[in-house]
Symmetry: D2
Subunit: 346 residues, 4 copies
């Protein structure tokens, strides 16, 4: 492994530490690796070691290239200096992607507390947007941002349709950075149709990092589940980026957007509303619905078949879900998807 501390700005003590694994040879099926940039917390006052290398190791062990970004704090925290630090780091990584065996469009950021604010800013306001963002007990809303850095912007209102998929974890009992931050950010992601996953754990203090004994002490009262964000964020990244396949990465499980088809054609991921709003789709749907209703007639949970669905439900209902309820197999649904992809969406 090649570990190197690259100085991005000597004055402001901004550094990017690299943790790079080999590819090829005995890892013949791996030509290049996804990567993650770790952004530690510390209230824009320092960069916490407990949210730096131990985090990098967790993703390295999963085959990722990892980086730790130590950004501008204290008197240098005036916005947008920290965001510029991030943008410079991401630009550098993408420019050296080939040399470092990195897949340039599979680079995530993970940020904690104030570092989570910087990671969320990267996801919503940066020039060089990341491809996924993991936000752990992150400072996100206006009120919290100001408490740690008066010049720091609200990230909630900054969520836009270019915002990358996000994984948001927090503690219900965090009294430094309230769970309200996570709730508001998820609400913004929801309203912008961005894919996300969210876990708010019942009990943990702020700053639990990996929540295991390498970082905690007996004085910490914390739920067993708080440490699950590590395993779950890795599982989530494998869905968003794909996993290591026979040669290169496998297909991602889903895309940037959660509920609506944003492509040029219809698909099983389009809603019935989207489908019937096109001429070709409308004709297609009438056939489908008969089948689905028939099969779901058996009475699949949540209804589908039997229930006379309100128009509002029917319109946003995904074709894929309708077919799943109708008990159709993955193969059949794939066939239907292929047909829908021949119908232009607009």
């Amino acid at each position: 492994m090649i570990t190197e501390k690259i100085i991005l700005n000597e004055e402001r003590n901004v550094t990017l530490t690299t943790y790079l694994q080999p590819v090829g040879e005995e890892f013949a099926h791996i030509k290049a690796r996804p990567a993650i940039i770790v952004i530690p917390g510390g209230g824009y006052d320092f960069c916490s070691d407990r949210e730096a290398e131990p985090i990098a190791l967790a993703y390295l062990r999963e085959g990722y290239q990892a980086f730790v970004l130590r950004y501008s704090v204290q008197q240098n925290k005036i916005w947008p200096t920290p965001l510029n630090d991030y943008d410079e780091a991401m630009a550098l990584i993408r420019s050296r992607a080939e040399e470092w065996h990195i897949i340039p469009d599979k680079i995530a950021v993970i940020g904690f507390s104030a570092g989570g604010h910087l990671a969320a800013s990267a996801a919503t306001m940066s020039v060089n947007r990341p491809n996924a963002a993991i936000l752990i007990y992150a400072v996100l809303d206006e009120a919290s941002a100001k408490e740690w850095n008066e010049t720091a912007p609200d990230t909630v209102s900054a969520v836009d349709e270019k915002t990358c998929p996000c994984f948001v974890a927090a503690s219900r009992t965090d009294t430094m950075v309230p769970a309200a931050n996570a709730i508001a950010f998820c609400d913004a992601l929801y309203r912008n149709d961005i894919s996300f996953e969210s876990h708010i754990y019942s009990y943990a203090p702020h700053g639990f990092s990996l929540a295991d004994n390498t970082v905690r002490q007996s004085g910490w009262k914390i739920t067993e589940r708080a440490k699950d964000w590590v395993r779950d964020s890795i599982g989530w990244l494998k869905e968003v980026f794909g996993d290591f396949g026979d040669s290169g990465m496998t297909e991602p499980m889903y895309g940037h957007y959660a509920l609506l088809e944003h492509g040029d054609t219809l698909s099983v991921d389009a809603s019935i509303g989207q489908i019937v709003s096109t001429e070709g789709g409308k004709a297609f749907f009438e056939t489908m619905m008969a089948q689905a209703a028939g099969a779901a007639g058996a009475g699949v949970t949540g209804g589908g078949g039997d229930i006379d669905l309100k128009q509002s439900v029917l319109e946003r209902f995904k074709m894929r879900d309708l077919l799943g309820f109708a008990g159709m197999s993955a193969e059949t649904i794939a066939e239907i998807d292929a047909q829908l992809r021949n119908i232009p969406r607009k």
Copy 2:
């Protein structure tokens, strides 16, 4: 195991199915068991078998007494009839708690979809409130409630300080009952200081039940993590109710309220704001803070020591967290808690 279907209302076909395990003898350490009432979904149109017995089995296996409530649907769904069904069931169970070896103040409800609406109504509006509520892809807000039962009330605005601790799980891509329901309900729980845990999974259709092959088919596109709500809700119940101990249940990990001390005296679970607002607490805190700042000076994540905390943060900061950051042991914190419990809160 004693399984019996008790008819609560013949006309409306309301039934309570019991699944009761023995106590004593070889289970000598178990005098009585916590219990759970399973409330299946079905759009207030039917009660889904896929969200009934399989769910009861999951909690039975953990030592719980289980019940399945089949409530009023279709023409009988007019509110508050379904809620009355619940109230009658809970009253019956508590009245027979001794005979059925149940701990009357450790009875949870779990509801799915429309059944989740009924479970949330039980948690917020019923006469016989449950002691914990597990809400899975539940119908919760005004808009969704009306889509499935025009007479059904909004549960989000009904959340009050008597609402029990809640476990909320949903899918980001649910197109029948949008994740917005879970987000809004958690926000209401947050604003009312109610303990909760929340998991919104990245991808799953509505109605995934246990999300395993006993209920799903290949046509369902679903994240591996969607099934984790079962394991996690069990872990959460063990925190809220305690677990089976040497004789009776162990102490719960935390209480009804999440952030503020609601007891008559101070404790390490009180915020600094609450502590310094009392004379005795103010004096106590000044000593403490010196110690905490000193220890945390090493630079514990998220700050504490070094950082000059904004007054707003300091005021809501829990004493327990401050001590944990200061690297104090569980024993020391317990001693400090004992001292604080001698100081009246008001």
Copy 3:
């Protein structure tokens, strides 16, 4: 769920308790279910409740039909009476398989301690052999068998090529039924080429059952991993029996035998020794080896390519493993398998 206690022999107090789940309707993809017979321990002196219903519940929750067999103990334990009880129970279950929605050739036994001796006897000596056996801290060898029932036979020497696949779990520190029992039984399974999985946990007392708080007390010193046999035995059963598929069970992952191809034709599961011992196979192999060596030349772990394999290794080496080492994809290996299946083994 239908639970019924069927009396097999009133005098000897032999009973079979049924736990039967429905099929069809909302479980449309399930036409029939695999089943498991739970055989509790108790030193052939009694049948322990702690190894009866709680175990049945663990498999019920996974979609299995479950049965608890209470067999002849105390003065009735004279061999082969207990084995006859098992044979009668299995015969009854298979005879009522259709009525009870059971797949007659996917019926496992699970036995604990002395019940594990009976389960192992069922697997090795019965008339109506089970299709899989799960043996938990089981009495298996001559010495232990005699300690609990002087008329009970050694099961280790009884292992034969008709013995079903077995899952064997034990504790290193069991002082009632030493881990030597598990070690010797696995050795016998190995020598008979029977598929098995084995877990010997570092520390646990005898009789830990599910090893969770529903059956244990604080006085029990036990490793966290001891409870994993439950989850792992379920995962293993899904490999041996297949899992619930779109309509009926999926294909098992592997067969009755572990190392050698016992079928009429060659396959990728045949050893190189088996392959080259046939004329067609010999020709086929010469082509293959060149390819494998070429690809593995990259230097796959454990060698393959680079290493000049001893003849003894090469002869028992599975074609499947050789191809895997050569970095071939699942698709390619499937094609090669199809070709080998055209070559008669003898």
Copy 4:
């Protein structure tokens, strides 16, 4: 992290790569760390990268200091050269323990395949014995050893009472290094009363390493459980070495020996046989047995109370287990332990 490749022997290309994490400061509760030496496989022909750094990362992430030993292979594999390489490496690490923040008596070795043979040799024949050994699909017995290195010794017959606790994992279907190796080694550990844990997985090819997609390809047919050895070996190390506590490591869960008390006094870990063989113990036991029998009378699984235990069982029965069966609490058992520790064993 400090990574450095130390050359132990230039000619034979023997190197020790270090992966060292910091202690103190934000990791104030960690004064020094346990360590692990990774010994890759490769048939004594090469050292596999797939069993080197990825393995080191898995333990680094758990807070361990890690080392990769590349030892003498090919023409340099003549015994005892590889073992001397290990001895030199361990001597170097212990000599620099303070500088490298390592706990000198908490250093494990982990070896794979031929590297597992070297690790097992270290555990049984070296001058500088490790404190724990993890053996993954290891070459252990005479027959296998000779297949990979004609000068390599049998490790099974070398197991002695100085052998450290071992974690042994293998695949039932390994055709390069048969599971017979693991079975025989566990049998030897058992006969020498050494603590161990063992997992033989149902299906996996040789050389599966971490068994995840960072090292495997689709052509590999492998059980989901094969990857569990990583998590389980970490859990096991926390029992053998203790875990990170408030200041230094917590107490190990158990010791070097599994069944018998080897200390100077009696304890609850002594067998009844050991206890009654001493005068003080005999008197003590008579009181105890009455209590235990009484409580266990309820009929605890596996017997204890009711059952009239054979003398042979009673003699090897651990006092701790007897008390646990009698339903005694951890506190009571601790008191009894304290009393027994006042009675000399010989």
